[in-house]
Homo-oligomer: 170 residues x 2
């Protein structure tokens, strides 16, 4: 799958089948995150990989819309410790997450993001030291409905280009 | 180029040739950003496209390491207005930026991020209304050295997988 088609066809997948993700594919996804660029090459991330159902369920209760984690085949909790410059750190985590999700998509594996709001609770679930935090996690898995992976986009799902793009100035 | 190879071979490119970027390729890159997923599908972004040398130079002076913008063929300033929840907005902008940079890479176009620290100055360069801000911009262009696009990674440039990945818990 070329990059443009992967970007264009990527959909959020929230319902996952029981089909396991191979170790080889999981390695590819994790490396895709690890290889992402970051501000000053700080690589301000740890990836905690969850496959135990009980732990996935516990993390799914740490965000209002994180319920899909409970049914994920693999959850990847994005953990960061460098909180002094929030903006670049969060931005870089987004880049790494996108790398992982696009490579997963190419492998036929669906994904969706969850924001984590119950920070202390998530810290306890992941057994993190107090200086580390998890603000976001990714659910991965083969979709229950294979067609869901590349279903047509919702009408009016995205703002039109003319609304998003400005030329030279506002 | 498949997604995995694009992710693996992407390098930061800071020196750009005079070769123009076609409108068609620029549209692909901007759409790649626009199509990115975002928290609650808010799409908290505007992309201000800069090609005038003077404006690129002005924006390059708004960040300590943003000098490469002065020589970019195209600069894309990422502008956001939703500042109430910094973390998800910055994260989503990172996802959109990664989409744009990976599609550019597939097209043979190099890119690199710049963080913008002089917020008021950038606001003035881009003629933004006061409620909007630019915290990051992307330089795009064909590399001066075509081999730079896929040069081998630096030794020890990335933290090893065993340092980044944890299983089930910290």
């Amino acid at each position: 799958m070329n990059v443009f088609d992967a970007v264009r066809s990527k959909r959020a997948i929230r319902h996952f089948s029981d089909r396991p993700i191979s170790d080889d594919d999981l390695s590819k996804m994790l490396n895709a995150g690890r290889w992402s660029g970051s501000s000053k090459n700080i690589q301000p991330w740890h990836f905690v990989v969850l496959r135990q159902r009980q732990r996935l369920e516990a993390l799914s209760r740490c965000g209002q819309f994180a319920g899909h984690l409970a049914g994920a085949t693999v959850g990847v909790a994005l953990v960061t410790g460098d909180w002094h410059e929030r903006w670049p750190v969060a931005f870089d985590l987004g880049r790494a997450a996108q790398n992982m999700m696009l490579v997963a998509h190419e492998l036929g594996i669906g994904s969706v993001m969850a924001n984590i709001y119950e920070i202390e609770q998530a810290n306890s679930v992941l057994e993190l030291p107090p200086e580390l935090m998890c603000y976001a996690a990714i659910s991965f898995g083969y979709p229950v409905d294979p067609d869901a992976l590349t279903r047509p986009p919702r009408q009016d799902g995205k703002r039109p280009l003319a609304d998003v793009v400005h030329w030279e100035r506002w």
